[in-house]
Symmetry: C2
Subunit: 298 residues, 2 copies
DNA sequence: ATCAGCGCTTAAGTAGCACTTATGCTTACG
DNA sequence: CGTAAGCATAAGTGCTACTTAAGCGCTGAT
């Protein structure tokens, strides 16, 4: 690669003016410095870039070729710097956000819509997926913000580079259809009765079912009959309504059905298991105005 | 504009490796220098470019944007330098040549065809036109070579930045159709007889007719009846054959017609006026291998 | 739990090189 | 023919980018 990029800046200016003296004035350096810089560049490239004529430097074809490389760069650079400047002046630019599929599809798009109504100059790139996939992308700088359903300090202090704050909690209930509830459970919610039932679970990562049992009964129940695993709350919900078995869903999603009757939840008397949606950020990363504005609306 | 382009080179390397230490090894400087350079760039832009994490520098979105500007530049630069290198290794690249319309259409294309048969890697950009138009373009660096029908040293030593060498001479004759010759001239070639005739001349620049008269009779004949001016030898030739009057054409173009009879030339006994096609180059401009090769074939 | 290892930062000193000043040359212009 | 403007070169200097060195934080191995 070229040893000194600054010579290209001098070259660029000379080319624009076809004159070393004019370039010197533009760059606030002496004419001699410009001349020396050009000479060094030519020696370095072993290529003549300008023909010295009286009061004028006439570019060779090589200079023309080089200019066609440098020129768009300088223009792009100036545009980019102006953009950076603008981004600091107020909420604009792109916000790259990661979120779990369900949260992203339901809550996040509403937040985005509301936010964009107030700040139309802010654009969003939302990536939906499992935290196990999205967290490395946050760590790699591909995301600015990440919503994830990890407990704050879930794995102790093993994620010191991240700053985590809870933004939303939702109750998780073990639910089934009314028909399933009356024919298979008949009101019996002891572990022994539940253990014989059909279950629906999520495919990725730690089992939601397992969490539920350990929360309510203090221990795992291995060997449950999991008749369906699918990484979609909506799918689990439909399966529940279809009477396939028992599955974990956020309570607010089945509030109406619980009241009206078609869906029943298993109640143990203990407080419900809660899922915390946390907002994760790279610790040490300065927040842009757009980011700040977005964060303050929580 | 940015004060120091070299910092961008360092930034580029850091971004590629997501590491200052790796960049330092790549650039053959100390890791501390890399860190300082990055720090200065960030302070200069007043924008955080990397989040410092353990053994890793994680780029911010601003860094990503900057990289997208710098990366194509570096790639383009490397490609361009390789191209420059290749051009010096042998005949390849583009040759930008200017020529008068007639010479360019007839002789030059043949030369180009023959040359390209031996050096297919050489491309040509031929500009046809009057020297008054093409000479400034040569002086401005837009042309590498210029064929022009100026006499070497035509305006004294008033064009020192150009190197001129004659490559071709052609006799210019004052000709007309056989019919015109017999009815209007009847063999009388004294100036007085000629002065009453109809003439055809070229539109641009110095009159070819005037040159002819001054060459053969030592003085100008103002007030000639010029019934047609057109900047095309072919057009003048057709006008001559059509009996419109007397016009100047290169002798070799009408050789057959002169022998066979349909066209007659006015002979004064003096040697014919000659037109020199010269090859003009910018003095002080180094010739590329392609250019050298082209020039040596004369 | 402790320590060795690696990477980034900061501070201070140095050395290299880019820049300035000065001079001479060339050409255009009045 | 003299003046003015532009470029090249030489020599000296000052800036600054770089090196060296020390310190800190984090990780992974013992």
């Amino acid at each position: 690669m070229l040893t000194d990029f600054n010579r290209l800046k001098v070259f660029y200016t000379i080319y624009r003016y076809k004159s070393a003296a004019a370039a010197a004035r533009e760059l606030y350096i002496s004419q001699s410095a410009v001349s020396q810089s050009l000479g060094k560049l030519e020696r370095e490239l072993k290529t003549q870039l300008f023909v010295r004529m009286h009061k004028k430097l006439v570019p060779t074809s090589a200079a023309g070729r080089l200019y066609e490389i440098v020129e768009p760069f300088v223009r792009g650079l100036e545009g980019g710097l102006a953009w950076l400047e603008a981004e600091k002046s107020g909420p604009r630019g792109v916000l790259r956000i990661g979120a779990p599929v369900e949260f992203g599809s339901r809550n996040l798009v509403e937040l985005v819509a509301a936010f964009r109504r107030r700040h139309p100059a802010v654009f969003f790139e939302v990536s939906l997926g499992h935290p196990d996939i999205l967290l490395p992308r946050l760590a790699g700088g591909e995301l600015d913000l990440l919503f994830a359903d990890i407990f704050p300090g879930r794995r102790g202090r093993n994620l010191p580079p991240f700053s985590v704050s809870t933004v939303l909690t939702e109750k998780l209930v073990l639910a089934c259809s009314a028909g399933y509830y009356s024919t298979r459970l008949r009101g019996a919610v002891e572990p022994s009765a539940l253990a014989g039932c059909e279950f629906l679970d999520y495919s990725h990562g730690r089992s939601a079912l397992d969490n539920w049992f350990r929360h309510h009964y203090g221990r795992s129940f291995p060997g449950l009959k999991v008749v369906l695993t699918v990484e979609s709350v909506q799918a689990i919900l439909n399966a529940i309504k279809g009477g396939l078995g028992l599955g974990i869903v956020p309570e607010y999603l089945v509030e109406k059905e619980l009241k009206a009757g078609p869906v029943r939840a298993v109640r143990t008397g203990r407080p419900e298991l809660v899922n915390r949606i946390s907002l994760v950020r790279l610790k040490g990363k300065a927040a842009s105005p757009a980011e700040k504005e977005f964060l303050e609306n929580f």
